[in-house]
């Protein structure tokens, strides 16, 4: 039964494809908004204080110098503390 052979192959193929995990599969995540508080002093980050350091205690959030990217800009570097 030629047709059965094709159909059983497809059935087995789909079963194997469904059973296998995808390499580095990630959980689905919805969009979200959050604020990062300073792990050292609990303060939030304000726009004019920049993204790299905490304006209150000087804690370093980011250890690199931002350039002009897509949304992140040079101005987002914190003034030197």
């Amino acid at each position: 039964m030629a047709e059965n052979k094709t159909l059983s192959f497809l059935g087995s193929l789909k079963k194997a494809a469904s059973a296998q995990k995808t390499y580095l599969a990630q959980e689905e995540t919805p969009p979200g908004m959050d604020v990062a508080l300073c792990p050292n002093c609990g303060a939030g980050r304000a726009k004019h204080d920049g993204l790299t350091h905490c304006a209150y205690c000087g804690y370093q959030f980011i250890d690199t110098e931002l350039g002009d990217g897509i949304y992140l800009k040079k101005e987002d570097n914190s003034p030197h503390v």
Binding site: Q20, A25, P31, M33, V35, A46, H48, I70
Partner: protein
């Protein structure tokens, strides 16, 4: 040089060859008929399954694996034709040529055998390509819908997100498919926006969808003598689509537009 050991006299040899070639040709045709029927059976059964999987948002990885599996079977069938062509048609043709002189009028019979078999083989290859393209086309099946879903997710995020500190609404850039920091317009607190896993696929879906949408321009270019002007028109349409879908990547799109038009002008290949 004829080989008297093989078929005795020249006359007998020719007649034996005649029989053998006729038989081989008929078997080759019947063999490809059967392989084509297999391709049709396989793809006719697989295509509806693939289309259904492609449209199910939770089955995208399974869809890709099943597609590869069906393409794999199509490859096996094609390899079978290739190997058999080698063993039965080509090898026979070489043997014939080694036995029948080029100047012998009977040589034409062998020539016709090879031509008929090759022509049939080309028709098989075309059928293969046709099925292959139909399978691949399912990749494009759900692009408009996927794009619409992402826009819906992002639009609702854009309208609903408020500052985590003071509750004031925060505006998210349109088509923002990556995580970024957004300052609250009221209290200036930096909020971090995460687009979520579906919206992160936007650049890939946009690329494929743009290509799909400008297919008529690409066809016009290919059928219109592959001129610079038609190529530019096709690329312009492609990058206009991309600029609409991914406005924040406009600079990159324009860079590629200029690069590809320039390389086409210099006689380079198209970057379709």
């Amino acid at each position: 040089m004829s080989d008297p050991q093989r078929f005795g006299s020249d006359r007998a040899a020719e007649s034996a060859w005649q029989e053998e070639l006729k038989d081989l040709e008929a078997r080759w045709f019947a063999f490809l008929d059967k392989l084509e029927a297999k391709m049709e059976e396989l793809c006719s059964a697989a295509l509806p399954e693939l289309r259904a999987l492609r449209c199910d948002p939770d089955s995208q990885q399974i869809y890709l694996r099943v597609l590869a599996g069906v393409q794999g079977q199509l490859s096996r069938i094609r390899e079978k034709a290739y190997e058999t062509h080698d063993a039965k048609v080509t090898d026979t043709w070489y043997l014939f040529r080694s036995e029948i002189e080029f100047t012998n009028p009977f040589y034409m019979t062998g020539n016709a055998f090879r031509d008929n078999c090759d022509e049939r083989y080309h028709a098989f290859e075309e059928a293969y390509l046709n099925w292959y393209n139909l399978l691949r086309a399912t990749l494009q099946d759900n692009l408009e819908e996927e794009y619409r879903q992402i826009l819906e997710i992002l639009d609702s995020a854009r309208e609903s997100f408020c500052c985590k500190q003071c509750g004031a609404p925060i505006s998210v850039p349109p088509a923002c498919f990556i995580s970024t920091h957004l300052a609250c317009p009221a209290c200036s607190t930096q909020n971090t926006f995460e687009p979520g896993s579906k919206a992160r696929e936007l650049p890939f879906i946009a690329r494929d969808l743009a290509e799909k949408r400008v297919t008529p321009f690409y066809q016009a270019y290919q059928q219109g003598g592959r001129t610079d002007a038609l190529y530019r028109r096709y690329l312009r349409a492609r990058y206009d689509e991309l600029n609409r879908m991914l406005p924040d990547l406009r600079e990159h799109h324009e860079m590629l537009y200029h690069e590809y038009t320039a390389s086409h002008r210099q006689g380079g290949q198209d970057n379709g």
